[in-house]
Protein backbone atom coordinates (compact mmCIF):
# COMPACT_ATOMS: atom_id res chain seq x y z
CA UNK A 1 0.00 0.00 0.00
CA UNK A 2 1.28 3.41 -0.93
CA UNK A 3 0.98 6.70 0.85
CA UNK A 4 -1.52 9.15 -0.56
CA UNK A 5 -2.32 12.79 0.09
CA UNK A 6 -5.34 11.72 2.14
CA UNK A 7 -3.09 10.01 4.72
CA UNK A 8 -1.34 13.27 5.46
CA UNK A 9 -4.58 15.28 5.40
CA UNK A 10 -6.17 12.88 7.88
CA UNK A 11 -3.21 13.10 10.26
CA UNK A 12 -3.31 16.88 9.92
CA UNK A 13 -7.04 16.96 10.64
CA UNK A 14 -6.65 14.67 13.66
CA UNK A 15 -3.88 16.88 15.01
CA UNK A 16 -6.12 19.90 14.58
CA UNK A 17 -8.99 18.09 16.33
CA UNK A 18 -6.74 17.18 19.27
CA UNK A 19 -5.61 20.79 19.59
CA UNK A 20 -9.21 21.95 19.35
CA UNK A 21 -10.32 19.48 22.01
CA UNK A 22 -7.53 20.78 24.24
CA UNK A 23 -8.68 24.37 23.81
CA UNK A 24 -12.28 23.37 24.57
CA UNK A 25 -11.65 20.99 27.47
CA UNK A 26 -8.64 22.26 29.38
CA UNK A 27 -8.86 25.10 31.87
CA UNK A 28 -5.16 25.93 32.31
CA UNK A 29 -4.29 28.93 30.14
CA UNK A 30 -0.76 27.66 29.38
CA UNK A 31 -2.08 24.30 28.16
CA UNK A 32 -4.65 26.14 26.02
CA UNK A 33 -1.77 28.09 24.51
CA UNK A 34 0.14 24.89 23.74
CA UNK A 35 -2.96 23.49 22.03
CA UNK A 36 -3.10 26.59 19.82
CA UNK A 37 0.43 25.73 18.71
CA UNK A 38 -0.74 22.20 17.88
CA UNK A 39 -3.51 23.61 15.67
CA UNK A 40 -1.06 25.89 13.82
CA UNK A 41 1.21 22.91 13.21
CA UNK A 42 -1.69 20.89 11.83
CA UNK A 43 -2.21 23.62 9.23
CA UNK A 44 1.51 23.51 8.42
CA UNK A 45 1.38 19.76 7.84
CA UNK A 46 -1.42 20.02 5.28
CA UNK A 47 0.36 22.92 3.54
CA UNK A 48 3.56 20.90 3.19
CA UNK A 49 1.61 17.84 2.00
CA UNK A 50 -0.10 19.89 -0.71
CA UNK A 51 3.24 21.46 -1.62
CA UNK A 52 4.72 17.99 -2.22
CA UNK A 53 1.58 16.82 -4.05
CA UNK A 54 1.32 19.68 -6.56
CA UNK A 55 4.67 19.39 -8.29
CA UNK A 56 5.87 22.32 -10.43
CA UNK A 57 8.39 21.14 -13.05
CA UNK A 58 9.09 18.07 -10.95
CA UNK A 59 9.84 20.12 -7.81
CA UNK A 60 7.57 20.77 -4.82
CA UNK A 61 5.57 24.00 -4.92
CA UNK A 62 7.84 26.21 -2.83
CA UNK A 63 5.24 28.96 -2.38
CA UNK A 64 3.52 26.73 0.18
CA UNK A 65 6.78 26.12 2.04
CA UNK A 66 7.44 29.86 2.18
CA UNK A 67 3.94 30.29 3.64
CA UNK A 68 4.78 27.64 6.26
CA UNK A 69 7.95 29.59 7.05
CA UNK A 70 5.84 32.72 7.59
CA UNK A 71 3.38 30.82 9.79
CA UNK A 72 6.24 29.53 11.97
CA UNK A 73 7.65 33.05 12.28
CA UNK A 74 4.30 34.58 13.23
CA UNK A 75 3.67 31.73 15.67
CA UNK A 76 7.00 32.42 17.37
CA UNK A 77 6.10 36.12 17.73
CA UNK A 78 2.66 35.13 18.99
CA UNK A 79 4.13 32.83 21.63
CA UNK A 80 6.41 35.60 22.91
CA UNK A 81 3.57 38.12 23.21
CA UNK A 82 1.09 35.57 24.57
CA UNK A 83 3.43 34.35 27.29
CA UNK A 84 4.19 37.98 28.27
CA UNK A 85 0.45 38.55 28.63
CA UNK A 86 0.13 35.37 30.73
CA UNK A 87 2.95 36.55 33.02
CA UNK A 88 1.29 39.97 33.40
CA UNK A 89 -2.03 38.25 34.12
CA UNK A 90 -0.41 35.97 36.70
CA UNK A 91 1.10 38.99 38.45
CA UNK A 92 -2.29 40.65 38.65
CA UNK A 93 -4.39 37.61 39.63
CA UNK A 94 -1.99 34.87 40.88
CA UNK A 95 -3.74 32.24 38.77
CA UNK A 96 -3.53 30.50 35.40
CA UNK A 97 -6.97 28.96 35.65
CA UNK A 98 -9.29 30.51 33.06
CA UNK A 99 -12.38 30.23 35.28
CA UNK A 100 -10.73 32.58 37.80
CA UNK A 101 -10.17 35.18 35.07
CA UNK A 102 -13.69 36.31 34.27
CA UNK A 103 -13.76 40.12 34.56
CA UNK A 104 -14.70 40.45 30.89
CA UNK A 105 -17.28 37.69 31.02
CA UNK A 106 -20.81 38.82 30.27
Amino acid sequence: MTLTLNHYLFVSGLLFAIGFAGVMLRRNIIIIFMCLELMLNAANLSLVAFSRFNLVNGLPNYNAQVLVFFIITVAAAEVAVGLAIIVALFRARQTTHVEDINSLKF
Partner: protein, 167 residues
Protein backbone atom coordinates in the same frame (compact mmCIF):
# COMPACT_ATOMS: atom_id res chain seq x y z
CA UNK B 1 8.79 7.86 2.76
CA UNK B 2 8.02 4.26 3.45
CA UNK B 3 4.51 3.71 4.84
CA UNK B 4 5.90 2.07 7.99
CA UNK B 5 7.92 5.16 8.86
CA UNK B 6 4.92 7.35 8.10
CA UNK B 7 2.73 5.35 10.49
CA UNK B 8 5.38 5.39 13.22
CA UNK B 9 5.91 9.14 13.07
CA UNK B 10 2.22 9.96 12.60
CA UNK B 11 1.39 7.81 15.65
CA UNK B 12 4.19 9.51 17.60
CA UNK B 13 2.86 12.97 16.70
CA UNK B 14 -0.76 12.13 17.54
CA UNK B 15 -0.12 10.12 20.72
CA UNK B 16 2.05 12.84 22.24
CA UNK B 17 -0.45 15.49 21.12
CA UNK B 18 -3.08 13.60 23.12
CA UNK B 19 -0.60 13.49 26.01
CA UNK B 20 -0.35 17.31 25.87
CA UNK B 21 -4.10 17.56 26.40
CA UNK B 22 -4.39 14.71 28.91
CA UNK B 23 -1.50 15.50 31.24
CA UNK B 24 -2.36 17.28 34.46
CA UNK B 25 1.17 18.56 34.99
CA UNK B 26 2.12 21.48 32.67
CA UNK B 27 5.80 20.45 32.53
CA UNK B 28 4.84 16.98 31.28
CA UNK B 29 2.54 18.62 28.72
CA UNK B 30 5.33 20.87 27.46
CA UNK B 31 7.75 17.93 27.10
CA UNK B 32 5.09 15.89 25.26
CA UNK B 33 4.67 18.84 22.92
CA UNK B 34 8.40 18.70 22.10
CA UNK B 35 8.12 15.02 21.13
CA UNK B 36 5.01 15.74 19.08
CA UNK B 37 6.83 18.50 17.18
CA UNK B 38 9.80 16.19 16.54
CA UNK B 39 7.43 13.61 15.04
CA UNK B 40 5.95 16.33 12.85
CA UNK B 41 9.44 17.36 11.71
CA UNK B 42 10.06 13.74 10.69
CA UNK B 43 6.83 13.83 8.64
CA UNK B 44 8.12 16.99 6.92
CA UNK B 45 11.34 15.15 6.04
CA UNK B 46 9.19 12.42 4.53
CA UNK B 47 7.56 15.05 2.34
CA UNK B 48 11.00 16.23 1.08
CA UNK B 49 10.65 19.55 2.96
CA UNK B 50 14.03 19.42 4.69
CA UNK B 51 14.28 23.15 5.33
CA UNK B 52 10.87 23.29 7.01
CA UNK B 53 11.77 20.23 9.10
CA UNK B 54 14.97 21.87 10.36
CA UNK B 55 13.14 25.15 11.07
CA UNK B 56 10.45 23.17 12.91
CA UNK B 57 13.04 21.58 15.19
CA UNK B 58 14.99 24.81 15.75
CA UNK B 59 12.09 27.19 16.29
CA UNK B 60 9.36 25.02 17.82
CA UNK B 61 11.18 22.20 19.59
CA UNK B 62 13.97 24.61 20.51
CA UNK B 63 13.03 28.24 21.08
CA UNK B 64 9.29 28.07 21.66
CA UNK B 65 9.42 25.12 24.03
CA UNK B 66 12.26 26.65 26.07
CA UNK B 67 10.07 29.75 26.40
CA UNK B 68 7.11 27.63 27.56
CA UNK B 69 9.20 25.70 30.10
CA UNK B 70 10.79 28.94 31.30
CA UNK B 71 7.40 30.53 31.92
CA UNK B 72 6.07 27.41 33.68
CA UNK B 73 9.15 27.47 35.91
CA UNK B 74 8.90 31.23 36.47
CA UNK B 75 5.26 31.10 37.52
CA UNK B 76 5.94 27.97 39.63
CA UNK B 77 2.78 26.23 38.44
CA UNK B 78 2.03 22.95 40.19
CA UNK B 79 -0.13 20.17 38.82
CA UNK B 80 -3.71 21.35 38.66
CA UNK B 81 -5.86 20.45 41.61
CA UNK B 82 -9.04 18.65 40.67
CA UNK B 83 -12.01 20.94 40.38
CA UNK B 84 -15.66 20.26 39.83
CA UNK B 85 -15.88 19.78 36.09
CA UNK B 86 -18.46 21.63 34.10
CA UNK B 87 -20.23 18.65 32.48
CA UNK B 88 -22.18 20.51 29.72
CA UNK B 89 -19.05 22.37 28.61
CA UNK B 90 -17.04 19.12 28.46
CA UNK B 91 -19.81 17.32 26.61
CA UNK B 92 -20.14 20.13 24.07
CA UNK B 93 -16.38 20.32 23.50
CA UNK B 94 -16.13 16.55 23.02
CA UNK B 95 -19.16 16.50 20.74
CA UNK B 96 -17.81 19.25 18.46
CA UNK B 97 -14.46 17.44 18.26
CA UNK B 98 -16.06 14.09 17.37
CA UNK B 99 -18.28 15.82 14.81
CA UNK B 100 -15.22 17.46 13.25
CA UNK B 101 -13.37 14.13 12.96
CA UNK B 102 -16.43 12.41 11.45
CA UNK B 103 -16.86 15.23 8.95
CA UNK B 104 -13.17 15.04 8.04
CA UNK B 105 -13.48 11.30 7.46
CA UNK B 106 -16.49 11.67 5.14
CA UNK B 107 -14.93 14.55 3.19
CA UNK B 108 -11.70 12.60 2.65
CA UNK B 109 -13.71 9.57 1.48
CA UNK B 110 -15.14 11.72 -1.31
CA UNK B 111 -11.86 13.48 -2.20
CA UNK B 112 -10.80 11.39 -5.20
CA UNK B 113 -7.72 13.46 -6.13
CA UNK B 114 -6.25 12.81 -2.69
CA UNK B 115 -6.36 9.05 -3.25
CA UNK B 116 -3.60 9.17 -5.87
CA UNK B 117 -0.06 8.52 -4.70
CA UNK B 118 2.60 11.24 -4.61
CA UNK B 119 4.41 11.66 -7.94
CA UNK B 120 8.18 11.17 -7.76
CA UNK B 121 10.40 14.25 -7.84
CA UNK B 122 12.36 15.09 -11.00
CA UNK B 123 15.69 14.81 -9.19
CA UNK B 124 16.64 12.39 -6.45
CA UNK B 125 18.15 15.12 -4.28
CA UNK B 126 16.45 18.49 -4.42
CA UNK B 127 18.39 21.59 -3.46
CA UNK B 128 15.74 22.40 -0.92
CA UNK B 129 17.17 25.34 1.04
CA UNK B 130 18.28 27.16 -2.10
CA UNK B 131 14.87 26.78 -3.75
CA UNK B 132 13.01 27.96 -0.66
CA UNK B 133 15.44 30.88 -0.33
CA UNK B 134 15.01 31.85 -3.97
CA UNK B 135 11.23 31.86 -3.63
CA UNK B 136 11.39 33.71 -0.32
CA UNK B 137 13.64 36.52 -1.50
CA UNK B 138 12.24 36.97 -5.02
CA UNK B 139 8.51 36.24 -5.15
CA UNK B 140 7.78 36.90 -1.50
CA UNK B 141 10.24 39.63 -0.65
CA UNK B 142 7.69 42.20 0.55
CA UNK B 143 5.93 39.82 2.98
CA UNK B 144 9.38 38.89 4.28
CA UNK B 145 10.12 42.53 5.10
CA UNK B 146 6.70 42.91 6.72
CA UNK B 147 7.44 39.87 8.89
CA UNK B 148 10.59 41.65 10.06
CA UNK B 149 8.50 44.64 11.16
CA UNK B 150 6.05 42.26 12.88
CA UNK B 151 8.87 40.68 14.91
CA UNK B 152 10.09 44.16 15.90
CA UNK B 153 6.57 45.12 17.04
CA UNK B 154 6.26 41.85 18.99
CA UNK B 155 9.60 42.49 20.71
CA UNK B 156 8.57 46.02 21.73
CA UNK B 157 5.19 44.70 22.87
CA UNK B 158 6.81 42.06 25.07
CA UNK B 159 9.13 44.63 26.65
CA UNK B 160 6.20 46.96 27.39
CA UNK B 161 4.08 44.12 28.80
CA UNK B 162 6.90 42.90 31.03
CA UNK B 163 7.44 46.26 32.74
CA UNK B 164 6.78 46.13 36.43
CA UNK B 165 3.99 48.69 36.49
CA UNK B 166 1.40 48.77 33.72
CA UNK B 167 0.06 52.31 33.66
Amino acid sequence: MSPILFYIFAAMTLVFAVAVVANRNPVASALSLVVSFLGLAALFVGLDAYFIAVIQVLVYAGAVMVLFLFIIMLLNIQAEERRKINVPAYAAGGLVTVAFIAQLWFVLQKFELGKTAFAPLAEKHVDDVRNVGNTLFSTHNLPFQVIGVLILVATIGVVVLSKRELK
